[in-house]
Point group: C2
Chain length 455, copies 2
């Protein structure tokens, strides 16, 4: 195999930099009208026919036969058996990762997820009560892209938040089914379950689970069916059908962000072994041909050294073809005038993963405004964060870190304002409210305030 991975070489001093930079960054989540219509039909059908519709679509798309939806429910015993079947090292790794993720999210809850209130000088109480969601649904993709770590990252913050029930859906398409890219019709009739995902469900603590997927699973969670309970929010990644379905049910239930391709940006001052950086760029590129890996560095010789390591390491990678396609199509090694300029460019990109591969990470961190997660120093490879450092690996992509945040405990909580106006407070506030309400032409508002005034 004679693969070459040659990310675009850009320099900020070049006259063509702006145009080349924009062209590299461009990515658009075009919505496909045919998918949209198909998904709208599936949602309406599941809302109308419930279980029967879900069974029909599961038969058609996943090649999975079942007489009743309850036959597609997994049990706690299934999770336990999967966990017990793993080698000891894998069991321990799952448990250690889960423990660290739990610890971090407990700290997060304490830092920003507790109720608060105060009383003002009139004795009026003001605050917010923070409560968990009652029931959430977690979508776990089936087949090759089924990542047990994603299940941990979705279920654990929900648990820490205090969510009462966590309902998992995970398609188990039969080989040869439409969902696995087969022509359909030659399916084995038996879905392929991912043992690691079921083991992760045991470790994370999933309440109930169904082997359904696609838009039909999203619909079942959003509207509820005879068998699948309706949830309050749906999180977790999925294909274009799942993404379209989540967008459409938003409002009926909450959803997390719709994720684009994964991205890493490495800010390097040249002090990190270049093979470490090359491998970090690979670890994003191996996800997906559309994934984006970018290096920003003021040291041209170091950039050349990283490219040399890319050339050296690529042939030994099992996923070399995907890595090469991703780096060639969307990767970039950008020579900057300075680390300061590199930080400014990073802020324009607002990357999902941002490695500050420098001897002085705390010098640059304050300059970095927008990123899903910031990995400080050479030892902090993004892959440690993906699995077990503790913070969530579900992060905003495609520049949405400008306005959104990692998945967290706060996504499984909601807030209610608390107001208790004292009699004294009502005298003062009533005059202000009445004045403004009359100004807006809302006389009932004004009179409701005035009725509380002492005559």
């Amino acid at each position: 195999m004679d693969l070459v991975a040659a990310p675009a070489r850009l320099s900020t001093t070049s006259a063509t930099f702006e145009a080349e930079f924009k062209a590299r960054l461009h990515w658009s989540a075009d919505t496909d009208a045919a998918i949209e219509q198909r998904v709208a039909d599936i949602l309406a059908d599941v809302q109308r026919r419930g279980d029967e519709a879900v069974l029909d679509y599961t038969r058609r798309f996943d090649g999975l036969e079942a007489a009743a939806l309850k036959d597609l429910e997994l049990s706690q015993a299934d999770f336990k058996a999967a966990f017990d079947s793993l080698p000891a090292a894998q069991r321990a790794a799952l448990q250690d990762a889960a423990a660290r993720v739990r610890l971090y999210h407990e700290a997060q809850k304490k830092a920003c997820g507790e109720s608060w209130s105060y009383r003002d000088e009139d004795g009026t109480l003001l605050g917010q009560k923070v409560t968990p969601l009652d029931r959430v649904g977690i979508y776990v993709p089936g087949g090759k892209a089924a990542y047990p770590s994603s299940l941990l990252m979705n279920a654990i913050p929900a648990h820490v938040a205090g969510v009462g029930e966590i309902i998992m859906v995970v398609p188990t398409p039969a080989k040869g089914s439409v969902a696995t890219g087969g022509a359909g019709g030659q399916s084995s009739g038996k879905g392929e379950r991912n043992v690691l995902v079921l083991a992760a469900a045991h470790v994370a603590g999933v309440t109930r689970a169904f082997t359904i997927g696609g838009a039909q699973a999203v619909a079942a969670l959003a509207y509820g069916t005879q068998t699948v309970p309706a949830v309050d929010k749906i999180t977790g990644p999925g294909n274009a059908y799942v993404a379209a379905a989540k967008r459409r049910v938003f409002g009926t239930v909450g959803i997390d962000m719709i994720a684009g391709p994964s991205e890493i940006l490495v800010l390097a001052d040249g002090s990190t072994p270049p093979d470490w950086v090359a491998m970090d760029l690979f670890s994003q590129a191996e996800h997906d041909e559309l994934a984006q890996s970018i290096l920003l560095c003021p040291d041209a010789a170091y950039i050349a050294a990283v490219q040399a390591e890319i050339d050296r390491l690529l042939p030994q990678m099992p996923r070399a073809a995907i890595i090469a396609k991703s780096l060639n199509g969307r990767g970039a090694l950008i020579h900057t005038r300075s680390m300061e300029e590199a930080c400014a460019i990073s802020n324009r990109i607002a990357p999902e993963h941002l490695e500050v591969s420098s001897r002085e990470p705390h010098r640059w961190e304050p300059l970095l405004k927008h990123a899903g997660a910031i990995f400080l120093g050479a030892y902090t490879s993004e892959s440690l964060g993906d699995y077990c450092a503790g913070p969530n690996h579900v992060l905003p992509t495609s520049g949405t870190a400008r306005f959104s945040s990692p998945l967290g405990v706060y996504d499984f909580q909601k807030r209610s304002s608390l107001i208790e106006v004292s009699e004294a407070g009502a005298q003062k506030l009533g005059l202000i409210a009445a004045e403004l309400a009359y100004g807006e032409g809302l006389q009932a508002h004004a009179q409701a305030a005035e009725m509380r005034l002492k005559r």
Copy 2:
């Protein structure tokens, strides 16, 4: 005028309660395919033609002529002049309300909007950095529904969060224009500005403002034009076109919730003067014929007393026609077996505004799981919260309080995870990460972790 306002009388002991209750609650934000297509076209056109497209639509829908988009920009002097033109009492009320709203949101920022981090026993740093959004857009509806209080409630939390620039858009449709319900063509060519809104912009501190509205204004904020800067998030209420546009630009920018009709639910134990409760029900009903006002009470005689007050007070209300239509169409007075049952029903509704009109509000508050804002005790009329108590009046509607929260400082911030793995930490975490990464078939992830292990 012989208006009658007779909310539905339901009782939880009735055999038909469930059906009647569900029918009353039903509300569906049906999307209109024609509006969707129109909005998609406008967004694409503004993205392509920028200023020129915005000017064209403003001419067509608002009857407002301008040679250049900069002619539709309002200045700080315009805001100041509007503020100075108000009567002293109105100026003071605006300033007092703003000061209280600011104080509350500063407390909110302190309680749940600060960066945090900790180091574990290996010296590994874990935490989250909280940063403000750079630039946000606030949509303020024009014409009759232009509420200066809404501008305060959107702009002040953005300010407290530390947002750099707040861009306001507020349509000023000319009389007789399409936007004001006129046939178009007979427009005065000059938009009608709302003095109170401009004064509120002065008090709240708006950076820039344009007299544009509709889907074209949302597009200008989301994509940017030659004159209007692109923002990171758009908040604020609007009509069906604005709502559809916000849904479509979600992902390019952040948006707040799409609001449904306003709602109030009063839980009463019969201790509050019945005219106060009647007026509180009116104050929601006067917003909109689709607004929903519900009373839950275990005391049948009290319910009758509230209905008597409704009959007595209705004729004197300037907005009596809207109130009557809202109460007749969507209102309900529900007789419950107990306050406990009333709390349980309230949780099923998850109302936007929830008044606990009881001598013992703190007895019932812990039973209330889902609500946008909870108003405790007889003195806490919802209208005080709408204007000046301090908490935000932008609240989740249509049952979305099950999974979403009042607008707050947190909506104008985002979080970035911080991870700094120590050399010692990398030895421990590297083994866990590599084990799981090999299990998921992601070898570059595994090798990136392994490279950091000491040989």
